[in-house]
């Protein structure tokens, strides 16, 4: 703004323009101020406080005690933390891939002129609407040895699986619940994106003899990229911080097989009396989330803003 000021001749108009700018600027600040103040208090101050806590040892019952970097260095060799981190990353990756593929596939299907499209959209969105606690409880029952899921895999000739009793399958179970609970939202967003791509592009390519697959690959997907990025980035962030389903459905078990980091943080802070260390863990999680998001934006990013 100041460079603009220098460029304009010092006329009456210029002066009025300047004060108009300044007034607009103040108005703009006025509109964003409540939000900024709110975030300053409830996010940034809270984060700063959390950072302070991560340098202390605190049992929530007696005052905190400063310990410097001890919490962080302990984490580097803490097997529980490292394994939980591994579990979290595995879970996130294992869930986000089917989530995106499924949502993309359904969106592409719905994008053709299909009957009952609206009905499908409502149905796919129903799991999103169901509270996570409820979903976890229901699926806990569905994964029983003689439950619905095993009946379903039995239909295709697979023997009943131990699901929640097995370290390996319990993680798959949580993944399934997460994908079920989230794909509807992603599908809708991607579908909206597809429908804002003018159909002429695809038709022109079809006339030129391009196959359906090539149209999707070379025209549709690139145009869809910003939304795809948005959906992927938010899904990854959500999965990394997923708490309710592991907490309610498996309580981190069997053993520690599904103890994702948010659950470990909760336990460490509230059950094991190590709130300072829990804070340190939380910051590591934050760092990872930011890194993943930044990487995604860099790799696929374009002007989403």
């Amino acid at each position: 703004m100041s460079s603009l000021a220098k460029a304009l001749p010092r006329t009456e108009e210029a002066r009025r323009f300047m004060s108009l700018q300044r007034r607009q600027s103040l108005v703009g600040i006025g509109f964003v101020l409540p939000a900024v103040v709110f975030f300053a208090i409830f996010n940034f101050y809270a984060i700063a406080y959390a950072l302070y806590l991560s340098f202390t040892s605190w049992d929530l019952l007696t005052p905190p005690r400063w310990v410097g970097f001890a919490n962080y260095t302990a984490l580097l060799s803490e097997p529980n933390f490292l394994s939980s981190l591994g579990i979290t990353l595995r879970y996130t990756f294992e869930a986000v891939v089917p989530l995106i593929l499924l949502s993309l596939g359904l969106a592409l299907l719905l994008n053709q002129r299909v009957r009952f499209s609206g009905l499908y959209q409502v149905i796919y969105f129903v799991p999103v609407v169901i509270p996570a606690v409820v979903a976890a409880i229901i699926w806990g029952l569905l994964f029983r040895p003689s439950g619905v899921v095993n009946n379903a895999v039995g239909v295709v000739g697979v023997d009943p699986l131990p699901w929640l009793a097995s370290a390996e399958y319990a993680l798959h179970a949580i993944v399934i619940v997460s994908v079920w609970g989230g794909f509807g939202y992603a599908t809708l967003i991607l579908l909206a994106g597809l429908q804002s791509i003018p159909p002429e592009y695809g038709e022109a390519a079809a006339i030129d003899g391009a196959s359906r697959w090539r149209i999707v690959k070379d025209i549709t997907l690139p145009l869809l990229a910003p939304r795809l990025l948005f959906v992927t980035a938010t899904s990854v962030a959500t999965l990394l911080t997923s708490f309710v389903v592991p907490f309610v459905m498996t309580n981190g078990g069997p053993g520690t097989a599904t103890r994702v980091l948010p659950l470990l943080i909760y336990q460490t802070g509230f059950q094991f009396l190590h709130a300072g260390q829990a804070s340190a863990m939380a910051f590591v999680l934050l760092l990872i989330t930011l890194v993943f998001t930044a990487v995604q934006f860099r790799l696929f990013g374009r002007e989403v803003l």
Partner: protein, 293 residues
């Protein structure tokens, strides 16, 4: 949906026939796949509703039984006696409605400010706010609690509402949407002498309605289902919310699955209704939103 698929004009006959055949089989295959996905999605829901009418030992029956032996409607009335769910519904409603109102209103304000005005540091501050919605809740859980304690809001509606009153996502979404609205409209109003607040209330908000509706629904949904924050903040039974109430069906001593499922069904209804009613708005706004695509 409303997008039309039109066959290319002036098509050669041979290509036309194969295109149409392809279209037909594709159409059938499409329907099949979509139906399959719909079935898988809906089976847990159907099972839940059926099971909410069973008796507990039917749930444990091996092999599994789909249908109840008799319709135990009493599960529903008994579920309400396990804990004061009437009160929980009220609390959840108050909190969710308040959070929705504040999020939508202040999110729109901030979105408008960030997209239609220029001031120093605008993009930096916006970027920081974006970052906040990447922050995992466990990071700020305890500090938020201490903050809330300092304000004297533990175990109060304030404590449940204020920390969730606005999110980075809300600001982001509103800014994207409002950015796509032509600014000339507002400039014209300014020239006519309209005050800034008036412009916001009588022009910006109505034009942003699809986005407001979507944001409202998503916010309501998230608030209604929130478990972790109320778990920490609430200290007495009469302030509890529905998700907390749902955990009460599973005690150390036994789990009353049928009652729990009955209450789960009821707990999901309000949000489902809100969604169905507002579905069109959601679709519209997702289509028109400024996220380029």
């Amino acid at each position: 949906m409303s997008a039309d698929v039109t066959l290319p004009a002036g098509r050669p006959p041979a290509a036309n026939r194969s295109w149409r055949n392809e279209f037909m089989t594709a159409s059938l295959a499409t329907q099949v796949l979509l139906i399959l996905a719909a079935i898988v999605t809906v089976i847990p829901v159907i099972w839940t509703i059926l099971s909410s009418l069973k008796s507990n030992d039917t749930i444990f029956a091996i092999p599994m039984r789909w249908l109840p032996d008799a319709l135990h409607w009493s599960n529903y009335s008994e579920a309400f006696e396990v804990a004061p769910f009437g009160r929980y519904f009220l609390n959840s409603a108050i909190v969710a409605a308040s959070v929705t109102a504040t999020t939508v209103f202040f999110g729109a304000m901030a979105g408008y400010g960030f997209s239609k005005f220029r001031f120093p540091g605008r993009d930096v501050v916006f970027g920081l706010i974006l970052v906040t919605f990447m922050i995992p809740f466990p990071v700020i859980m305890i500090p938020l609690f201490v903050l809330v304690r300092n304000f004297g809001w533990v175990n109060t509606y304030w404590g449940l509402i204020i920390p969730g009153a606005l999110t980075g996502f809300a600001v982001f979404m509103m800014r994207q949407f409002i950015q796509a609205i032509p600014g000339e409209l507002f400039d014209a109003a300014r020239i006519d002498g309209a005050g800034e607040l008036r412009i916001f209330l009588t022009m910006v908000l109505p034009l942003a309605r699809p986005a407001l509706a979507t944001l409202g629904i998503l916010t309501f949904l998230e608030s209604w289902n929130n478990l972790l924050w109320p778990l920490i903040v609430i200290q007495s039974e009469d302030m509890e919310t529905i998700p907390l109430g749902l955990t009460k069906f599973s005690t150390l001593y036994s789990t009353n699955y049928t009652q729990m499922l009955a209450m789960a069904v009821i707990a999901s209804l309000p949000v489902l209704v809100v969604f169905i009613v507002g579905r069109r708005q959601i679709i519209n706004s997702l289509m028109l939103s400024g996220i380029k695509g």
